[in-house]
């Protein structure tokens, strides 16, 4: 395998990881601060993508579409927090899973009712389309580079928010002792709604960014949701830093596994067999990674043990 191909695959892995981070950041914040398992996070990703596709179709502007995705997902997040999720904080995880699974069904069929059963069109803006040549002669799609950049910027902003601002202090305090922070006069329920809407907005942004290179359709969020859960388990539940490291680890493992494993098996097996063993093993690679991490560090890489 040439160095160029390998570098291109590393970039692909990084881009995939950064996208997973946008999903996982919201999920881990919500789980860390409120102790809530939110299966409907994938639906918020879908809401973001549909809002972006709809606004892009109506206005022709990708920037407006991105803003619409943030707004729509945050609004949907705040709405379900106020109406449904709020009643679940005190309940056990099984009730939360049941209720948020119901939300998935409601969002999916509601979206179908509003937009129909056929996938929507959302394209890369002309300014960002096509490949660019990087140093070393690597041709790489400009849009994917943009996703990497946006993702890393969001990560930096999120760290600053958590570490440097008053809201961030409250979020961290809420994570460690929610009764104490309520007793100190912080409006805890407003804080929860805010955190939930923030997580939802990040998921919506991921949906819109990815919707431009994938298909905007009902049910698009569920496969990403599973990966996002793997990411936060690896990174340690509740840790933003863990989510970032976990997401990039999962992105790289998945991408490189898909390339290297079939090539590895073809060294000593017939091509057909190597191909099928390699690709089967590649689809398990991230789960094997998760198992190994959990054996070594049961709380995840950056979790509280």
């Amino acid at each position: 395998m040439s160095l160029i191909l390998f570098t291109e695959q590393m970039l692909n892995g990084l881009q995939f990881g950064v996208m997973l981070f946008l999903m996982a950041a919201g999920l881990t914040l919500i789980f860390g601060v409120m102790g809530l398992i939110n299966l409907a996070h994938g639906s918020l990703y879908m809401v973001g993508a549909f809002a972006a596709a709809w606004v892009a179709g109506a206005s022709g502007s990708f920037l407006l579409a991105l803003m619409a995705s943030l707004a729509a997902a945050a609004a949907a997040g705040a709405l379900i927090e106020l109406t449904v999720i709020r009643r679940l904080y005190a309940r056990d995880h099984l009730d939360q899973v049941l209720a948020t699974f119901a939300l998935i069904l409601i969002f999916s069929e509601g979206t179908r009712w509003a937009f129909g059963s056929f996938p929507l069109f959302l394209d890369i803006p002309p300014l960002l389309s096509g490949p660019v040549t990087l140093p070393g002669g690597i041709e790489y799609p400009l849009y994917r580079l943009t996703i990497i950049l946006v993702g890393l910027t969001v990560a930096a902003a999120l760290f600053a928010l958590i570490a440097r601002t008053r809201i961030g202090i409250q979020i961290r305090a809420g994570e460690s002792d929610r009764e104490m922070i309520a007793a100190l006069g912080v409006n805890i329920s407003a804080l929860y709604t805010l955190v939930f809407a923030l997580g939802a907005a990040l998921a919506g942004l991921a949906g819109a960014l990815i919707g431009a290179i994938q298909s905007v359709q009902v049910g698009m969020g569920e496969p990403v949701l599973i990966l996002a859960f793997v990411v936060i388990v690896i990174g340690g539940i509740g840790s933003i830093k863990g989510a970032l490291v976990g997401a990039i680890l999962v992105g790289l493992t998945d991408t490189l596994g898909r390339i290297l494993l079939p090539a590895f098996f073809s060294q000593f097996m017939a091509p057909q067999a190597a191909n099928s063993v390699g690709s089967s093993l590649a689809s398990m690679a991230i789960y094997i990674l998760m198992a190994v991490v959990l054996v070594v560090r049961p709380g995840g890489l950056f979790g509280k043990a």
């Binding site: 999916s108 059963s117 298909s215």
Partner: protein, 377 residues
């Protein structure tokens, strides 16, 4: 007076009898979730044909399988045991068909497949009461292989998801492709990011790409492929280029070659009427799935016209005759009850604002399938 009442009752009774459905059709198809577009098209095509036939004695019971085999099996049991349907149809996905069809035909029901055509039901597992009105799964891929050979491609990079229909697809392509393979990849089912595969295609030195990625997977692949700047010619089966998803792919699909047994510009009166009436009724262009639903219903009606469904042998013979006007023009069943038909080469074009397909040639003429010889009925 008494006589008059009796006569009235008799007339009313007869009227009630006529109004009651004589033939029950059970349709299990996918109407919710990610793959719903296909099931909705099959259903709409089927119901359009029934409506145009003017027959009021056919009752269709439609249920949603949610693309889940276990639910499809439950629905089939209910339709057979409590609804007592005569004929079943509607299943889109091969894995669901494998779960339902063998049981249904073993219980003496007729099954007319409007889509799924797994090789297992075409070869050793064929059944005298199972008819496939669409295609055997390999057919469109075989057409793509034949086209790629005819177009002079020497070295193809091929990819499909790692599941039975994906393996059938690559097998079908290779059966008719005479060149070499620059690479062969199985991707994950439901995968949405193809950057890694596209990088391999770029590095492989291939002169063409064949892919089978149905539904959303194909949309993702095509958009990412177009954006990558690789630019090699792409060939695929119609499943990634049907009317339902082309609008979501947009310009990335323009000029792509794909193979299909049907297109809206096949020149015959049945097809012209079908395209016009479908567009008028549902306010969208029909897809190949809609044409398959339409043909399935017309096959059923043609058999009902000439035979009584309670006389199974006569009804089966009437189905085998396939004496109906197909949207595909000529249509006949092979010995294993799968179609013998032309596989066309289409190109994606833009008509006004709408992306659609145009036939540019024929890949395979009067093509059957590779499994017919294994079928012993």
């Amino acid at each position: 007076m008494k006589l008059k009442t009796l006569a009235m009752a008799g007339v009313l009774g007869m009227a009630a009898c006529a109004a009651q459905a004589d033939i029950k059709v059970g349709m299990i198809t996918t109407l919710s979730g990610g793959g719903a577009g296909l099931g909705i098209d099959v259903r709409d095509g089927f119901m359009l044909a029934l409506e145009q036939s003017g027959r009021s004695d056919i009752e269709v019971i439609i249920e949603d399988d949610q693309r889940k085999p276990d639910i499809a099996v439950q629905l089939a049991d209910k339709m057979i045991q409590s609804d007592k349907v005569d004929v079943m149809t509607g299943i889109i996905w091969s894995n669901l068909a494998m779960a339902v069809v063998p049981g249904a035909v073993a219980q003496g029901k007729f099954y007319l497949s409007p889509n799924a055509g797994p090789s297992a039901l075409a070869g050793k597992g064929c059944n005298k009461n199972y008819f496939n009105v669409a295609w055997q799964n390999d057919n469109l891929h075989e057409g793509a292989g034949a086209y790629a050979s005819d177009a002079g491609y020497k070295s193809a990079f091929i990819l499909a998801p790692n599941y039975p229909a994906g393996q059938d697809a690559l097998t079908g392509f290779k059966r008719f492709f005479k060149g070499d393979l620059a690479g062969e990849i199985y991707t994950q089912l439901g995968q949405t990011d193809y950057a890694a595969e596209i990088a391999q295609i770029r590095a492989s030195g291939a002169d063409s790409v064949f892919f089978f990625l149905p539904g959303g997977m194909g949309i993702s692949f095509l958009k990412q492929y177009a954006d990558s700047g690789v630019g090699l010619p792409v060939v695929g089966p119609a499943f990634s280029f049907d009317q339902g998803i082309l609008q979501a792919v947009g310009d990335a699909a323009l000029g792509v070659i794909n193979t299909s047994q049907w297109n809206k510009d096949i020149d015959n009166p049945t097809n012209a009427g079908f395209v016009a009436s479908f567009s008028a009724k549902y306010d969208r262009l029909p897809s190949l799935y809609a044409s398959q639903g339409f043909d399935t219903a017309n096959l059923l009606i043609s058999a009902l016209e000439s035979a009584d469904i309670n006389d199974q042998d006569a009804f089966r013979a009437a189905l085998e005759a396939a004496d109906f006007n197909s949207t595909r023009g000529e249509f006949a069943f092979g010995p294993n009850h799968h179609p013998i038909q032309n596989i066309y080469v289409r190109e994606v074009i833009k008509e006004g604002d709408i992306y659609t397909n145009k036939i540019i040639g024929t890949a395979l003429t009067q093509h059957g399938d590779a499994y017919a010889a294994e079928c012993k009925m």
